[in-house]
Amino acid sequence: MFIELSPFDLSLAAILVLALGMLSGYMKLGISKQLYIAAARTTVQLLLIGLVLKTLFASTSIAFILLIAFIMISVAGWEILSRQQRKLKGWWGFGISTGSLFVSSFLITLLCLSIVIQADPWYSPQYAIPLLGMLLGNTMTGIALGMDRLIQNAWQQRPVIEQRLMLGQTADEAIADIRREAMRAGMIPIINSMAAAGLVSLPGMMTGQILAGAAPVEAVKYQILIMFMITSGTGLGVISVLWLISKRLFDERERLCFKRLLKEKT
């Protein structure tokens, strides 16, 4: 019942991506380059990880698994930064995104492994790595969206923020609306996934488990667990990033401090 894909099948899909890139280039939407790079990366990265995944899952060394987790978190932090139109200068951007990923994804994965799943040992890689991966993948998207929205809107609405400061509002009050908007932007993808799960979309992990022969109810339970983990992880991550960045956007005299931002990348 397993139908193998031929290189021809894949190239057909690749042509679609290529066409999209060309269309975007033609319409001057400026996403083609990023699109091609991401498509190439997904191919190479998945091929590589596919080759070593069995070896990885066979590993029992906690140090090795922590190292893998550490690399995953750093890469996710780095990717968040690359999605930003304006970023904080220095190590602040990387520090804030990676730190927030750690607090949300890593700690929640730990909690899930040790208390909920109770794998033996708790760091069993066939649970730990995919779980952390799913959490990071989703949290990363939420954080990247929320962060980008916060900084972009603060930049564009500078007159409004300063007007609010002139009226004697605290820095926190002055940016509250923008932060709320950024929180919404960061949470929309996961709220969409939860609302549509089962009706519109069949989550990949659950479907995979059922196809592989697991009892549907068991697979569904896992999927719900994952959804809730992802949601709380994303929420925590976005909240922490928004809080830290809005602190960083003001100095100690509650003045907007845009000199802490790099110039917009083109």
């Binding site: 609405q157 300063e162 400061l165 002139m166 009226l167 004697g168």
Partner: protein
């Protein structure tokens, strides 16, 4: 009594500036565009970085939280910003019939849509909005630049009445020397980063 005392104030290329403002006094300020008038007001409101000491009576600007300082030392910028749909949403106190009338509005005007305000209307509403904090010092950046003669007079009288009622003081930036002579006791101009007494 509310007096503002400025000692060795430095910002950008300007200063050091020393200045005293007494209660109910209006200080006129002029100078070419880009000379630093707006920056001067922003420094007084602690919205820009600056050096030197600024005291309101015996309260040091740097000794209290910045937002509390800005409630006392209020800046009305040349361009005001409005972020809600209607004017009234920007006001804490909604019963302003008397003040509105003094500036040529009615209580009904508060319900106006922000998107259709003229720049002159924005400046007059902006004044009312900033006065809700009952500031002790008013920093007015070309506040009547977009007003006709009649509304300019209303605006001037309204500010002077507020100052005497609250024994507050004001710095009034304007390009209109006749206006400054009419309302201010002293006029200064900023030239090459220095504050020069005109009269």
């Amino acid at each position: 009594m509310n007096s503002l005392s400025i000692t060795k104030l430095q910002f950008l290329h300007c200063g050091p500036i020393d200045l005293q403002l007494k209660a109910t006094e209006i200080m006129g300020l002029s100078g070419a565009s880009g000379s630093g008038k707006s920056r001067f007001l922003r420094a007084l409101a602690d919205l820009d970085e600056h050096k030197g000491e600024i005291l309101l009576d015996d309260i040091n600007q740097q000794a209290i939280a910045a937002h509390l300082w800005r409630q006392k030392v209020a800046l009305l910028s040349a361009e005001t910003s409005w972020w809600f749909d209607t004017v009234v949403e920007h006001f804490m106190m909604k019963e302003l019939a008397e003040d509105l009338a003094a500036l040529g509005f009615t209580q009904d005007s508060l319900r106006w849509n922000v998107s259709r305000l003229s720049s002159g209307e924005k400046q007059r509403f902006g004044l009312l909005r900033i006065l809700q904090n009952q500031p002790d010092v008013l920093l007015l950046d070309e506040p009547t630049a977009n007003l006709d003669k009649n509304n300019t007079r209303l605006f001037e009288n309204f500010v002077m009445e507020y100052l005497s009622k609250h024994s507050a003081c004001a710095v009034w930036v304007s390009h209109d020397h006749e206006q400054l002579q009419r309302i201010s006791q002293r006029e200064y101009k900023i030239e090459d980063g220095a504050l020069i007494n005109v009269y």
